[in-house]
């Protein structure tokens, strides 16, 4: 074991290289650039021996990963914001073709206006593509989640692509220590990728050919079943990694001081980490409030949310907005509770465009939720 004191991007690159993908294909974009540069450095030093393909766009990056994965290779890529959006068609393709590509996405604002700071609209807008989606809150969690992502993606009961999201700059460019296990620990945990099928010139077959409505309907159902399997297997895989590495950051959610709580805050990403300090302060002031940090939004942790709704009233902070509707987490939390719990759910939009969200802001939102009876989602901190 060594301790690596470095940025989220460079720690993600370390994890990706230690997973030994046979193919990495990537195109640089701020603030993902230092991640793929770090992988290029591993190539230059001879420490990464896979195929590193520099492509001409993100659409091509995902296409190259799809081709390599279909040929039976473990594959990795990374992108951000407009890069992710340019991949959109191929995100659907990778998932429908049931290819276990692993990708880091650095959550960055979508333009215009041009802005390189954090919000989560880029990945939230890709929820329906069939990718499993994780959101990290620390550099240690980034390392551990990238390793977990390969295990999950390639599991025979899942075989779906996995997106590991980290917030722009707040995580991608912030140095924090992460414990890096020995290579053998990662090798033993992941094993080799053994595809159920692959493109093979010795045994030519075609995939993705024309199919009629009845069969296509079954393809979609199989994807849904795989996602539901992932929901059951994420707790198992995160616990297996805990045994192997000592690290656990929650399964679908991470619970923080929820025991006896009458209110539970739900938040994502870096705000999820900052929320812990807010909860500490609110508890010191005598409030019975806890935190459930949402790590996974696809598959959506419906059953866990229902349990929370039966225990407490819920407060949701979204760093995204589905324009014309609501923040995605607020919307989906209420949908999960329908017919199961009549807990009050209070929703806030915060931090769009990279506007800083401090623990004091989070405390203010929670205190407002404790008092107010407002049902509509509120925009926090629009002034200033």
């Amino acid at each position: 074991m060594t301790v690596m004191m470095d940025t989220g991007n460079r720690i993600a690159a370390k994890a990706a290289v230690m997973a030994k993908p046979e193919v990495v294909a990537a195109y640089p974009i701020t603030p993902q650039t230092t991640l793929v540069e770090a992988i290029a450095e591993y190539v230059a030093r001879g420490e990464y021996k896979g195929e590193y393909i520099c492509v001409e766009s993100e659409h091509s990056a995902m296409s190259a990963c799809i081709g390599a994965s279909a040929a039976g290779s473990r594959t990795f890529t990374a992108t951000s914001s407009h890069g992710l959006l340019l991949m959109h068609e191929m995100l659907h393709w990778a998932a429908l073709a049931r290819l276990p590509v692993v990708m880091c996405n650095i959550n960055r604002v979508v333009g215009p206006g041009w802005n390189i700071w954090v919000d989560e609209n880029d990945s939230i807008s890709q929820r329906d593509t069939g990718w499993i989606q994780f959101y990290c809150s620390s550099n240690q969690e980034i390392f551990d989640t990238v390793i977990q992502a390969f295990k999950l993606a390639e599991h025979e009961k899942i075989v779906l692509p996995v997106m590991v999201n980290l917030n722009a700059f707040i995580l991608s460019h912030t140095s924090m220590p992460a414990e890096i296990p020995d290579q053998q620990v990662v090798d033993d945990f992941l094993g080799n990728y053994v595809p159920k099928w692959k493109l093979d010139i010795e045994n030519p077959t075609t995939f993705g050919n024309i199919i009629g409505p009845a069969h296509y309907y079954k393809v979609r159902r199989a994807m849904q079943d795989a996602m539901l399997n992932a929901k059951k297997l994420i707790p198992q895989i995160t616990n297996d990694w805990k045994k192997a590495s000592g690290f656990f950051h929650g399964d679908l959610l991470e619970y923080y001081k929820c025991e006896g709580a009458e209110h539970i805050l739900l938040s994502i990403g870096a705000i999820g980490a900052e929320s812990k300090t807010a909860i500490d302060e609110l508890q010191k002031a005598g409030h019975r409030i806890g935190l459930a940090r949402v790590r996974v939004i696809r598959p959506f942790p419906t059953e866990d949310i229902i349990k929370l709704g039966k225990q407490a009233d819920l407060i949701v902070i979204d760093r995204n907005i589905s324009i014309g509707s609501e923040g995605a987490l607020f919307n989906e939390v209420k949908a999960a509770l329908y017919g199961e719990s009549d807990a009050k759910v209070t929703g806030f939009i915060a931090g769009l465009g990279g506007k800083d969200v401090t623990y004091k802001d989070i405390e203010t939102m929670c205190l407002k939720a404790l008092k107010d009876k407002v049902r509509e989602q509120q925009w926090y901190g629009l002034e200033g």
Partner: protein, 206 residues
């Protein structure tokens, strides 16, 4: 920023767990971000479990005022937001103080470390804050630590930090500097000597 592999040294465990927040002011190209990273890495070696270093997120330009931040704590740090109320301010370029209010938000008992040839009491605000001064530019010139002909002050000034913060040792600062310049050992050694000079020459107001 290169790799900073470091081992946690259990023997050096610091007693205090409280959070220290540090803000670096400099100009683009002076290495404020590197300084923040090196300081956080050194603090980790000194047994502070929670350390963090990050730039002010934005478009940096050479010569323009920039900020970088470091947090040091005995416990894991959950904060991810910017630092608004620093305990310590480190000014890499004295001329910044004409255009940036480096004292903005500083805690009442805050400490200000300035790269200058002046003395702490030459600064009016030394009546309110602890001020430490060191001629880091002179030290960089003495050891020929230059990039593009300009003196690099970010590593020398780190040698002054243990004079105002007991959570990080000069030895750990020198360790991480040597670790950063493993490929250029001689340059690394000059940087280490510069931190020693800075440590010895730092003056702190009463």
């Amino acid at each position: 920023m290169g790799h900073l592999h470091s081992e946690l040294r259990e023997g050096n465990m610091v007693s205090s767990k409280s959070l220290v927040e540090i803000c670096f002011h400099g100009r683009g190209g002076q290495g404020a971000v590197t300084a923040a990273n090196l300081l956080a890495a050194a603090a980790l070696q000194d047994g502070n479990k929670g350390v963090q270093a990050f730039p002010l997120f934005g478009a940096e330009r050479r010569g323009a005022p920039v900020r970088a931040f470091a947090r040091i704590s005995g416990e894991e740090i959950n904060l991810r937001s910017e630092i608004y109320n620093p305990d310590i301010v480190i000014v890499l370029d004295e001329s910044i103080m004409d255009i940036v209010d480096v004292l903005k938000g500083v805690k009442d008992n805050g400490k200000i470390l300035i790269n200058t040839r002046k003395k702490p009491n030459d600064f009016e605000f030394s009546k309110k804050y602890h001020v430490a001064t060191v001629d880091a530019t002179g030290i960089a010139l003495k050891y020929n630590i230059l990039v593009g002909g300009m003196p690099v002050v970010n590593t020398p000034i780190l040698g002054s930090v243990p004079k105002i913060l007991d959570r990080v040792t000069l030895r750990s600062i020198q360790n991480v500097i040597q670790g950063k310049w493993t490929g250029k050992k001689e340059l690394g050694e000059r940087n280490v000597k510069a931190t020693q000079d800075a440590f010895d020459q730092t003056e702190v107001s009463a």
